[in-house]
Symmetry: C2
Subunit: 466 residues, 2 copies
């Protein structure tokens, strides 16, 4: 006998939780489709040579390689060719597969290419609380050929706003910044070398954790040697948060006025101005987005607008949806220049965090099953099944009890399982041509004519429970 064990570092859910997770996936999919994005899916593994062109260091160490039994035996027997890696590896994000997909199918796609992709990705991390080796990413990207208007950068906050409103997990704020503005700001301060800028940004990123004094000491210290007044300017800059649309525009005007004339800064300011204006035109309420000059995101990858999204009442969760603008998606695979902008929701981690914070009450949730048809009397089995069929043909998710047992026990099962309605068909109901409907949520009961049971339940199910 083998002990049945889930591998460590994965989020495996019980059915009630899976229903809640599935609803979130569907809300994200609906949001992406609402904005005109098309679905794609890529295989779980890519050719190792294709997957590992751009990576190095930590990511490469975390890659999972895939080998069939045959290939493995060749390695064992020393008969394998001396390749650096096995032939296949599991994707570690959805960006590299997107780059490969767009480059490979370039001539069959229409640009700007608007795709969404919701699949699991894999990282061989050391398992620890809240870190997963397998997790869902839900990505959306707009990829242009040769060029892509900055207007598209305004679509991402609008998508985020639609999805997180639908998910109803509390108030949130979309934090917006621009890498060109950041670059220009540091250039104005005389920090021009990209590596040096990146090093400063890494220190600034630790501000929340280590505090202002530590940052002052570090940046004025031996490694960086920045003048104290420059460090104060940095500290003031990264703490800029706008409050409302007009304030955001005013803060952009202020940073531009204070600038030493960096072209990059001016460009970043102009882009942010356009993005903010269109975000408002797309109907995002101004309370839900803000400028935040501390947001930098992936330093190697993003080149313009960058986004993070935080839950106002749960800042400790960190960003629940991030992304940004990049200059060239697939330079490692094609000579075509493919600029793009996109965002990603790490749903497994988000779900786990919401559950930890008590915001997903999965076990008490509603089942996908809407009606239980209990077995009241084994002699009425044909009638019971005909009722179940009638409900299913009417589009209602219906479970029929086929194993018998006491009615009270069947009702308790429905209640525990989160099935809201029970449709009872006993000898009396059969004689009368009726069905007795029990609403377990409202603790209510009523009798309807047999041929009206579908329409009656549809009306009930369409009303929110409050």
């Amino acid at each position: 006998m083998i002990t049945p064990r889930t591998p460590s570092g994965v989020l495996e859910l019980l059915p009630g939780e899976q229903v809640a997770f599935q609803r979130m996936l569907e809300a994200i999919r609906a949001g992406y489709e609402r904005f005109g994005f098309l679905p794609i899916e890529t295989p779980v593994f890519e050719r190792s040579d294709v997957l590992l062109t751009k990576t190095g260091g930590e990511t490469e160490r975390q890659v999972y390689f895939v080998q069939s039994t045959g290939a493995l035996e060749k390695v064992r027997d020393g008969a394998a060719e001396d390749a650096a890696y096995p032939e296949l590896a599991l994707r570690f994000d959805l960006t590299v597969p997107l780059a490969r997909y767009v480059a490979e199918h370039e001539h069959q796609l229409t640009f700007p290419f608007r795709r969404y992709q919701m699949q699991r990705v894999y990282r061989g991390e050391r398992p620890q609380r809240g870190r997963f080796r397998e997790f869902y990413q839900c990505d959306v990207d707009i990829v242009g050929k040769d060029e892509l208007s900055v207007r598209h950068d305004a679509e991402c906050p609008a998508v985020i706003h639609t999805i997180f409103t639908d998910l109803a997990i509390g108030p949130f704020t979309i934090q917006i910044n621009n890498r060109k503005l950041l670059r220009g700001f540091y250039e104005d301060l005389g920090i021009v070398d990209p590596d040096r800028q990146a090093a400063v940004l890494r220190e600034v990123d630790k501000l929340d954790k280590r505090g202002e004094d530590h940052l002052r000491t570090t940046l004025t210290g031996e490694g960086f040697g920045l003048p104290a007044d420059v460090v104060e300017q940095i500290l003031a800059f990264v703490q800029v948060r706008s409050d409302g649309h007009e304030d955001a525009l005013a803060r952009l005007a202020a940073v531009e006025a204070a600038s030493g004339g960096s072209g990059a800064l001016a460009e970043g300011v102009a882009e942010l101005r356009e993005v903010l204006t269109l975000v408002r035109a797309l109907g995002v309420p101004e309370s839900d987005y803000r400028l935040n000059f501390s947001i930098a995101r992936g330093l190697d990858y993003y080149t313009g607008t960058v986004y993070e999204t935080t839950l106002d009442e749960h800042p400790q969760i960190g960003s629940i949806c991030s992304g940004g603008r990049y200059d060239n998606l697939a330079g490692q695979y094609t000579r075509s220049r493919l600029p793009g902008v996109g965002i990603s929701i790490g749903l497994s981690r988000l779900f786990w965090q919401l559950r930890e914070a008590g915001l997903v009450e999965a076990s008490a949730g509603e089942s996908t099953v809407q009606v239980l048809v209990p077995q009241v009397d084994a002699a009425l089995l044909d009638d019971q099944l005909a009722l179940a069929s009638q409900l299913r043909h009417g589009g209602i998710n219906t479970e029929a009890v086929l194993d018998g047992g006491k009615l009270g026990k069947q009702l308790r099962y429905a209640d525990r399982a989160g099935i809201r309605f029970v449709a009872i068909l006993g000898p009396q109901e059969v004689a009368d041509g009726t069905v007795t409907l029990k609403d377990l949520r409202r603790q209510d009961q009523f009798t309807v004519a047999r041929d009206e049971v579908v329409s009656a339940l549809r009306v009930e199910l369409a009303q929110p429970l409050v």
Copy 2:
């Protein structure tokens, strides 16, 4: 520069095809939920010791093993412990993960446990046309604890009927048989030893390919040595197909009357009688199911009712949905007896075959995008975005063109992309407070008031095109 290449043996789709595939997945999911099944998902990999308990031979050779870079380096350096296999392996079906899941979470589940699972599985097959290394399986199972009424065996044909009616890929027939009836029939003929029975069944399974004469020669020949009249009885038996419900019951009565009194045969007949009766009670038209005594399925696994489903007009495709009843799901993981019944749809292979047969016109399909809002005049950008927002808030999947270009080109894009409606907002429409709607499918055009555009489109989209 690395050539972007999809690994061999996977089905990667262009967006238009992916939309068609996604619709099939959603129809299957809706069908499973309609019958009261709950979703679960399991990780793509399992612990190798858990995955490989029951397998052997061909399956084991086809397993993909998974190793992180670190583990791989240890193997290279000879520092790895001398384990038979790497720690993790990709699932090769959804049955073993279900067994592990049910055994592991046994005390948190309610039985009968009704679950559906739609995920990809992996087999290290040699790539060839129509054979995939990665493919979707869409499984549904009802698992009992200690016992499970044979009534549940009638649910599978009802689910199959609902789903393949919804998929609208042409008329189909659900072929039903019973392993106990098969066993009893061969026992009556004096073929009692299970291995000998299995060997005969394997030969019978080749009947379609090799013909009757070859079967006669083989079964009367040296290896089997069956009397000629026994072989004729086998030939007559395996060619039994019922035509309608009453004929099915009559054929069961006939096989029972002809029986030498095998208990297994009588049991199989009784089960089939009950299953057929309930299949009819569940509303499956009698033209869509039939007895077929040639169906045997997995010889080691299934113990009672077995199913296959064929497309009437495309018999060459073979079974598109198969399954059956098993005695004990998870004997390798738990002492609890877990009998069950289930079916599986191999969607990647089915989709590929339908495409090959010209039954999926993916590229000409309808997009998930329902309306394109073209950019008529850059000066009207804010109005254009407000219209897009209005449509999206109204639940309509909307793409807004943000890069400009000639209107004619934008219309051609919508047409090619399978977007049915175009909502045009030019200076005249803005002045009049209207929107011009073009229906590219019906080649029709009409103007509606701006505040009625959502309801007008909803009415149009709710009407089928035919």
